[in-house]
Every structure is written in C-alpha cells, then in structure tokens.
C-alpha cells in the first residue's frame, strides 16, 4: 500500500503510454526476468538449463528493437528524433534525481546492434557451451549482460549510465571468470573489474563535476546547460576528460588497456559479445553521448589517446600467436580508431565504425570460436595438451571448415579496410577525419600517422592470422585432422549473418561514400554546445567562423584554399581572443567540412594502398613464404620483443601500481597494528623486553591490559606501591615530609 504511494508519487509525471517506451522497457526487462528465472531455477527445474528462456527474451527483444528501428529510424528519417520518459529515483531535499529512458537515433541504432549481436551469440552459445556443467549459469549471465547493456544504451542520465556501466562490468566479471577454476580466468576477471573501476573513478568525478556545476545529470539537460554557459573553460575540459576516463577503462584505451587481452580467458562467445562488439564499445558510446560538451582541449587529448592506442595495440597484435589475443589487440586498435575519430571531431565516422566493427569483430570472434571448438576436439582426440588457441598448431583449416573460413575471410577483409566492405567505409571515414584534422592543424601530424600506421598493421596481422589458421598444412598432425569438422548449424548461422552484415550494402549503397547512406543521414554531427556558446560570444566579430553549412559541396582545391585562408583568419584573430581560437579550432567542425571531403579522398586512396600493402606483406610472409618471419624477428630485435611482450605494460603495472597498492596496504596495516593500536606496541616492545627480565609484564599486561594507558598507569601503580612498604614509620615519615614540603614551598 505504501509502496504504491511511493510508486505513484514517483511515476505520476511519466508518459509511459507511448508504445515506444513500452517496447523499450520490455526489451530492457525481458533479459532481466530471464536472468532471475535461470539463476534460481535454471539448473534444477528447467529443461536445457533454461537457455530457451534467455533466447526467447533476447530474440523477442531483438525483434522489437528492429521494429522500433524500422518504424522510427528508417520510417520517419528524422535526424532530430528524441523522446524521453522519466521518473524520479532518488530525492533529497527538494531535489529529485529523475532517471529514465531516452530514445533517439543513436540509442535506437545501438539497441539494434546490441540485441542483434546478442541474439546471434545466444544462439551460437547453445552449441558452443554445450555440455558445460554451468550451462544454465552461462545463459543467466548472458541475459544479465544483455539487460545491463540495453540499460546502458537506453539511459538518459549520466548517473544511470554509470549504474549500467558498472553492471556491464559486473557481468563481464562473471563471464570472464566463468571458468573460475582456472586461476588465470579468476585473475583476468578481477583485473578487468579493477581496471574498469579505475576508469569509473574518473567518470564518477566527472559526473560530480557536472552535477555540481549544473545541478542535473540528464544528458540533454547537461548539453543544454553547457550551451547556456553554466560550465565552461577549464572546468568543462576537466569534466569532459574525467568522463572520458570511464571510456578509457571500459573501451580499454591506453593506459588501461591491459585488462582486455586477459579477458579472453572467458568463453569465446563472451569475448565476441562483450569484449568485441558491445561492452567495450560502451566507452565509445559514452563519448558519442557527451560529444556535444567536449571542449577542443579535451577532444585533442581524446584523439591522441585513441590514436596511440590504435597503433600501439596493432603493433602488439602483429606478434601474438594466440588467435583470440590477436583479435583482442585488434579490438583495442579498432576502439582506438573510434576514440580518435571522436577526438578529431569525426562524430559520424566514429559511431559508424562502432556499428560496423561490432558486426565484423563479432563475426571474427565467433569464427575463432568455431576454430577453437574444432581444434579443441582435434587435440582432445590425440590427447594432446597443446593450446587449442595457438595458431602455430593450426593451418589448412579452410578445407575442413568452409563456412567458418568464408565468413571469417569476409570479416577479415572488412577489418582490413578493403573496399566494398563496411569496414572500409567506416575506417576510411575515420582516416579521412584524422587527415582533415591534420590539415587544419599541421602540428598534430601524429594523428594521421597513428591512423595509417595502424591501418597497414591491421591488414598485415589479420591476413597473417588467416594464413596461419586456414591456409597451409594442418600442423597438429593428420590424426588430429580426422577429428576436425565444421561447427554445427547453431554456430554457423550467426557467422553467416554477421559476415553478411560486414558488406557495404547494409549501410550505404555507394561503397565509397558512406555519407550518402542512411547512417550518416540519421546521425549528423551534433552541434557542440561549447562551441555554440563561444559562437554566441564571438557572434559580432566572426560571423563566418560559425558557419554550419554541413552539406555544402565545393571543389576540393577550393576547399583546401578556403580552409587555409580560414585558418589564418582564425589564427590572426586568435591573437586577440585567445579562447576563441580554440572555439573555432574545435575539430574543424566549422569550416572543416570542406577539408573533410578533400581528406576523405586522400585518405581513401592511401588506405587502399596501405591495406593492399599490408595484405601483400602478410601474403609474402605467410602464404608465399617469400619472407621469413623468423629472420625479421631477429632483425627487429628489441622491437619484436616489445611487441611480443605487449611492451611490458602488465609487468610495469604489476610492479608499480599493484605492487605499490599491496605494499601500501601492508604498510598501513602494519601501521595500524603497530603504531595506532596502542601507540602502544612501541612501548609494549620495550615492555616485553623488560618482561624477559622480570616476567611480570606478560603476567599482567598481556593478561588483558595491553595498552599504552594501561602500561603507564601500571607503572605509576607500581610506583605508588613502592611507598606502601609496610613500615608504619615510613608512612609517618612520608606524611611528614609531604606536609613539610607543602609548608616550606607554599607557606614560607
């Protein structure tokens, strides 16, 4: 009764009637229900461990998501679509913290991506996890993850984003540590959670900064608040970077990247779902959400972190032998791309890459899962304890697993950025964006270098992987080969679907111009709130600086010239108004659109060349065997070692942060026991020393009065007793002496 009172009080202002929200809530809660049922009753009472409940929940959710997507996104084609539903969650004083669901194009697209990939992986898992003793629990956790991820996507409020953010971390923890009997899995789970927490601390601080300045956490209101000038300058930069810290953790950007490769200890479907397609993209999604409030300085930092991660992770991927690790580093690298894209202001490109990457990377992981599944069977057949994930034991698998091979190849091509794939379009957009940024700000030449460097390495290591796995001879012996087989249909269907979705046609009918596709149309670059504010301030003097003509098309050369002149204008102006330089510098949003087109073309050419080059080198090394990788290993020397050992970051962290923390803990615990507790033990130590001689200390003090006070008091107590020696005449003497002293001192 009273609960209803709360419920009514909290929900009265909501417009829950809307079918969209009803569907969204269904999509959100169905997996939660599935989780609850499965975790409690799945094992004992439900057939098949209740997997069908989870699958029903997510597939129906996927269907509804697609329905919403087609009715709203494709049906209406409204770039400014926005709807939200709220209720108040926490109240203090007069303030109500309202949370709820926000639906717009971005969230709907993400919803589709998440539910689709998740649905496919649920299906895949039925085969992959078959026979596992904790089969029901796996599905329960998958459902739980789906719930958290969908919640993250739908959330309209930074605090609730943070909540689901933590919950996806939690489900990731459970799923990485799914085989917790293995120490490595348990360690990896812990590492993932703690690394995420570190990022979350930053995010929390960012949330607090935002809340303190604006009194709201609703994303829309925050953006409006920034536009209204409630927060700006340094504070906004810091807040933006703090929020981005969360993304660093979740999307495993440098320097918190170390957890993701280890997270591959989880079952492969988990790697595909969480650590490739969806959860790790949450960081990028967050940046997408807060894109409008990022200041140029913040963006720049973001761009560098992303770019560095992209290249850095790619170098490591080159030298790995574990099939999943290669993919993991590749994921890191691609996430770096996305982050860099957002950093340089290529909002659409970044988000686009998120979507395409989700598809082909999920496909790759599932494909690798299929391979591992097969290898596992084969190695088990010959009673070998070799690592089923090590590519050095594979080879020639295309013959045995044709479906896997083909889908894998499509995804690889897509990832490598070969034309006619989705990956080509999105990656090209990113590279174009970074190049454009460089062209506007030549001092940031490193960003395109990162991008293009990563591109060639990507093509190389992906084809290296394909060659080592699918081509050549099977290296575990013919006997094992007899046990190799194509995976069951439950596994191949998702592969086919995802492989298909890696083709350009689903995103844009022009394979070389993603901008003409529905995606870009629906996701135009949002106005930067910060910039708007600056623009208002600069309105009188620089009307042209805030040109928002986002669809203007000019000749490339003209654009370049225009941009140059524009740049100079800005710089000359900057001498007078320092802040506004940054305002117009911001990712080249203003005049930068023309540059984008130029850069886009240049980038396209370069990236095709680089991809070809990368593929060529891989082919030379691993297919034609024209180049001996071992020779190059020696030749590269320490560089190779660095790549192989992941540039020693794990070791560095182990000895600095982790070791430092444990050391601090031990020191403080010692401090607590030794110094604070008692201020005592110092004295007690001396006391114990004395006790060796006298023996009374242990008898009395350890007997219950271990305490400095007790000790001192005890000493005085003993002292007092000295005067009570049993000689009555001495007593009289003491008395007289004290009286005499008193009289002499005080009276005379």
């Amino acid at each position: 009764m009273y609960l209803r009172q709360f419920a009514v009080g909290a929900l009265e202002n909501s417009n829950i009637d809307n079918i969209m929200f009803q569907l969204a809530i269904y999509i959100l809660l169905a997996p939660l229900v599935a989780f609850t049922i499965n975790i409690f009753w799945g094992k004992r009472y439900l057939p098949r461990g209740g997997d069908w409940i989870s699958i029903t929940a997510i597939w129906s959710g996927c269907a509804f998501a697609l329905y919403m997507f087609f009715t709203k996104v494709l049906g209406n084609y409204d770039p400014n679509y926005f709807q939200s539903w709220q209720f108040d969650w926490i109240r203090w004083g007069d303030y109500q913290l309202r949370i709820g669901i926000a639906l717009d194009n971005v969230s709907l697209i993400m919803l589709v991506v998440v539910t689709l990939v998740s649905s496919l992986i649920h299906l895949y898992s039925t085969a992959y996890m078959k026979g596992d003793p904790k089969y029901h629990r796996f599905f329960a956790f998958l459902s739980f993850f789906s719930f958290s991820m969908i919640g993250l996507v739908l959330a309209d409020n930074l605090l609730i984003i943070f909540c689901f953010w933590e919950l996806v971390g939690l489900s990731s923890y459970f799923l990485i540590g799914f085989w917790h009997e293995k120490d490595s899995a348990a360690n990896a789970a812990k590492k993932a959670f703690v690394a995420n927490r570190i990022g979350d601390v930053g995010m929390l601080i960012g949330i607090l900064l935002v809340f303190t300045a604006m009194g709201t956490l609703n994303v829309t209101e925050v953006i409006a608040g920034v536009a209204a000038g409630k927060m700006g300058g340094m504070a906004l930069t810091i807040a933006g970077l703090c929020l981005f810290c969360g993304a660093i953790g979740k999307s495993a950007q440098f320097p918190l990247h170390v957890w993701l490769p280890d997270a591959m200890e989880g079952p492969t479907p988990v790697s595909a779902l969480i650590h490739a397609a969806t959860m790790v993209a949450a960081g990028v999604y967050l940046v997408v959400r807060i894109f409008a409030i990022l200041t140029p300085e913040a963006s720049l930092v973001i761009a560098y972190i992303g770019g560095f991660t992209a290249l850095f992770a790619a170098t490591i991927a080159v030298a790995q032998y574990d099939i999943k690790r290669v993919l993991a580093y590749s994921t890191l690298s691609q996430l770096g791309y996305m982050v860099m894209a957002l950093g340089v202001g290529s909002y659409t490109a970044g988000f686009f890459h998120l979507v395409t990457h989700a598809m082909f990377k999920a496909c790759l992981f599932l494909g690798s899962g299929s391979v591992i599944h097969a290898m596992h069977g084969a190695l088990h057949h010959i009673h070998s304890h070799d690592d089923a994930q090590d590519m050095r034991f594979m080879g020639g698998l295309k013959k045995y697993m044709p479906v896997t091979f083909i889908t894998f190849l499509i995804a690889t091509v897509s990832l490598s950025g070969v034309p006619l794939t989705s990956g080509f379009m999105s990656k090209d957009a990113i590279l174009g964006g970074s190049l454009a940024y460089f062209m506007m700000h030549p001092q940031h030449w490193l960003l395109p270098v990162f991008g293009f460097g990563a591109a060639i390495l990507t093509a190389f290591y992906m084809f290296r992987l394909v060659y080592m796995t699918f081509f050549g001879e099977f290296k575990s012996g013919p006997e094992a080969a007899t046990a190799l087989h194509e995976s069951p249909r439950a596994m191949t269907i998702p592969l086919i679907v995802l492989g298909a979705l890696s083709i350009f046609v689903f995103y844009s009918f022009n394979p070389f111009n993603p901008a003409s596709g529905w995606f870009s149309t629906l996701n135009p670059q949002p106005d930067r709130a910060y910039e708007q504010l600056q623009a208002v301030a600069a309105h009188d003097t620089h009307a042209e600086a805030k040109s928002h003509d986002s669809h203007s098309k000019h000749e490339a050369v003209e654009k370049a010239e225009h941009n140059d002149s524009h740049g100079t204008v800005v710089e000359s102006h900057g001498e007078e108004h320092g802040e506004e330089v940054h305002a117009t510098d911001a990712g080249g949003h203003g005049g930068g659109h023309d540059v984008h087109h130029t850069a886009h073309l240049i980038a396209m050419v370069i990236s095709i060349i680089l991809a070809t080059l990368g593929i060529l080198i891989a082919t030379m090394g691993y297919y034609w065997h024209k180049i001996d990788p071992n020779v190059w290993k020696k030749r590269l020397g320490p560089v190779y070692l660095g790549m192989y050992h992941k540039w020693w970051w794990d070791e560095i962290y182990e000895y600095t942060f982790i070791g430092g923390t444990k050391l601090t803990a031990n020191i403080l615990a010692w401090f607590d026991g030794a110094v604070i507790d008692g201020l005592v033990n110092f004295v007690a130590t001396i006391g114990r020393f004395v006790s060796v001689v006298h023996g009374w200390f242990d008898l009395y003090v350890v007997d219950g009065l271990v305490n400095l006070t007790a000790w001192i008091v005890g000493i005085f107590g003993r002292f007092t007793r000295l005067f009570q020696g049993g000689q009555i005449q001495r007593y009289v003497l003491y008395t007289i002496a004290l009286v005499a002293v008193f009289i002499i001192l005080k009276v005379l």
Partner: protein, 491 residues
Amino acid sequence: MNQSPINIDLSPMIPELTLVGGLLLLLIVDLLAKRNKGIIAAVGGSILLFVLMIITISAEERVGSYLFGTVIQDGITVFFRLLFCLAGIISLGLMSYRFKDEGEPHLLILSCILGMFLLAGANDIIMLFVAIEMVSIPAYVLAGYGRKDMKSAEASLKYVLYGAVSSGMMLYGFSLLYGISGATNLPEMAAKLGTVSGTSLPHVMGLVLVFAGIGYKIAMVPFHFWCPDVYEGSPTAVTAFFSVAPKAAGFAALLRLMPVYVTLEPTYGVTAVGMITIGSAMTMTLGNLGAIWQDSVKRLLAYSSIAHAGYLLMGFAVLAAYPEGEIHDLATAAVMFYLVVYVFMNLGAFLIVDLVERNFGGEHIKWFRGFGKSSPIPALALAVFLFSLIGLPPLAGFIGKFYLFSALVKGKLFALAIIAIANTVVSLFYYVRLIRDMFLYEAEGNIADQVAAGAKLKTLGGILAIVTLIPTLVLGIFWGQLANWIQLKVW
C-alpha cells in the same frame, strides 16, 4: 564569676543519650549472656540503631545550636546520623557472621557510632577532637580483632600509631587556631578569622595540620598510608564498616570545618580550594593507581575507597570555592548523595568479599576466578556493585558521580573534572579486572574444586544483599526522591 543558674537543654542530645544508655544496657546484657553473645549484641545493636533512626527523624525539626554552641543540629546532622545508623545496621549484620559469640565488637561499633553522632553535630574544636577520638579508639581495637591473626594485630598497631600521630598533629593545629582566634567554637572561630584581613602564618599552618587529622580519617593523600594496610589486615566485616562509617564521619567533620577553611586568604598562595583540589586530585589518582596491581580484593577495595574519598573531595573543592549560595548547596547535596550511594555499594561489595572469604578462606583474587560460574548470584551482585563503583549507568554510582560532576561543572572546576575523568578510566582497569576474573576466567589449579563448590548467600546474607543491591539499582533510575530529600536537608 557568674553564678546565675545554669539551664542546660539536653534535648538535642536525646539520640546520643539513648545510644549511651543502650550501649550500657547491651554491655550488661553481654556480661550476663552465656551463649550467642555476638548475635544478641548485634540484634540488640540493630534495634538500638533502628530506634535511633526513628528518634533522629522525629527530632528533625529541632534545628539550631545548643549547649553554648558546642553542638549544632540541622538537616545535615540528621542526614549523617541516619546514614551512620544505616551503615551501622548493615555492618552489624555482617559482623554477626564473624563474631557470633563475642559481644564486644558490636559494642565497640556502637561506641564508634556514638562518636560519629557527636561528630555530626560537633560545632566546637574540643567537641570535634573528643568525638574523633571517640570514633578512632574503638576502631583501633576493632582492627585488632582477628583472633591470633598476625595481620590483624599488625593492622591495629599501624592504625593506632598512625592515628595517634595524626591526632597529635591535628591537636597542634587546633591549638594554633585557638591561639589566634581565641575561640573554640567553630562559627565563632570562622567569624574571628574572617575579620582579620590577610592570613597569618599560624592560621595557614593550623589549618594544614588540622587537615592531617581530618585527612587521616577520610584517608586522603598524603594521610592515607594506613588505609590499605589496616583495611587488609582487619577482619572483613570490620573493614566494611571502616570503609564507610568513619569515612563518612570524617566528611561530616570536614563539612563543619569548611567555614573555617574558607577564611584562608591567598596571602601565602594557599587557599582552601587549592588545598582541597590538590588533595582531591592526588587522592583519587593515587587511590586508583594503587589499586591496579592488587591481588588482595580487600586491599583493592581499600585503594578504591581512597579513590572514592578523592571523588568526594571534589565536592568539597566546590564547597570551598563557593562558600554559600546555590552552587554551595548543590555541592553539599552532591557529597551527601554520593555518600549514601557509596555506603550501599561499598558495603555490598564487602558483603560478597566477606562471603568469599568465609567460604573459601581467603579473599585473594584467585578465589574469584570462576566464581561467576559457580555462584552466579553473588558474583552478579558483586559485579553490580563494582559497576556502580565505576560509575556506569543505570546504577546508583553513576548518579552519584553525575551529581558530583554537575557540581564541578557548575562550579567551573574543569581541571579537576578532567582529572576525575582520567581517574574513572584508570579505575576501570582494576574493577573490570575483578569482573573479568569472575566471569571470564576459570578457576585455577588445585583450588578449582573448592571454587566450583560455590558460595551461597544464606538468609542473613541474602537480606543484606537485597538491602544493598536494591538501592544500588533503584537509585540509579529513581533517584529524584532521595535528591529532593537531601536538598531539603541542605537548605
């Protein structure tokens, strides 16, 4: 010389006269009785004290000073007389366990009480001196009552020597005061000394030396040395009596002497407040420190009683600081309230210690280990008394301390309050140690069987335990009545 007819009103002396008469009667009965002399004397003495209480209450309204100002009767007198009777009755009960066949100890206690009665009303230094000796001399004998007990003999020796020296010093002090004031009557003396501006040397030294006598009676540092030895050596029942009644009498005397003390002006840097504050601080500190390592529970309680004297002296410090007015009355009431509470809890504690000693043959702390398990009821009672001595609510001891602290805080003697707090904490060590030994430890070694047999409070013991326990518990919660009554006495 003035030969006018002398008209002496002896009516305020009715309680004392009754007591003397009863005492003589009991002496005769004692001589005639053949058996159970002690029980007869104890019962008779208790009846006598009970009658005295009735007489005292009925003579309550006769306020004023009598017999040429040597005797005063007011609420405080009445209060103390009732208190002495109460302590006397409980002590006689305790004594009758030990002295079943001897009447004299009971009679000596009664004569002690006679001295106390006079002390409570003494208003003249000669009266005071004689009354104090009247309290002391039977006490010397009582301390030596342990039959063939070396410790008891030693206790009485120490008691008599220390007591005699103290009274010698007090006497010398009185003579000095008499010399400079020319009066033996206390109010007169105070008035005389108050009119003299500044303070002369004999004034200071006289008061300091008098302090020796009073301080000895209340076991105040540095006149406390006799106390632990005498308390330990004397028979437990006697110790119980010593620890409350003569001490309370000493405080009564100090209360009477306060007007003289407050005449001290800080010419020599010595004031009554300073003297009493230092005395109080030293007393409680040394009392508590001394108690810490004691293995004899009687000795422990002796030190604890020293400490409690220190707490009580805090009230006197406030009295000295505020010679009259609201705060003065509050402090007086606080001291009196504490004394009531103290009588109950201390006698109660000794009751249980006596029980242990009678059953096991010793009061060393080892006999208390495992006592809580073998005899839960006496142990629980002792725990209550000890917690009350610590001053934990909701027990009476807390209220007593609370009252004293209120007086201190109101009188703004914060330094003393802080010392008292520190002392309360120190006192925890030994009280809690005893409680711990009773409840948390097992009996050790060869005495385990004996302890495990337990000890039971028989009829008399049970009655005495209830008589002491109920006030200790009830006064912790419903103390308003008593406080009101005491305040009425003070006004």
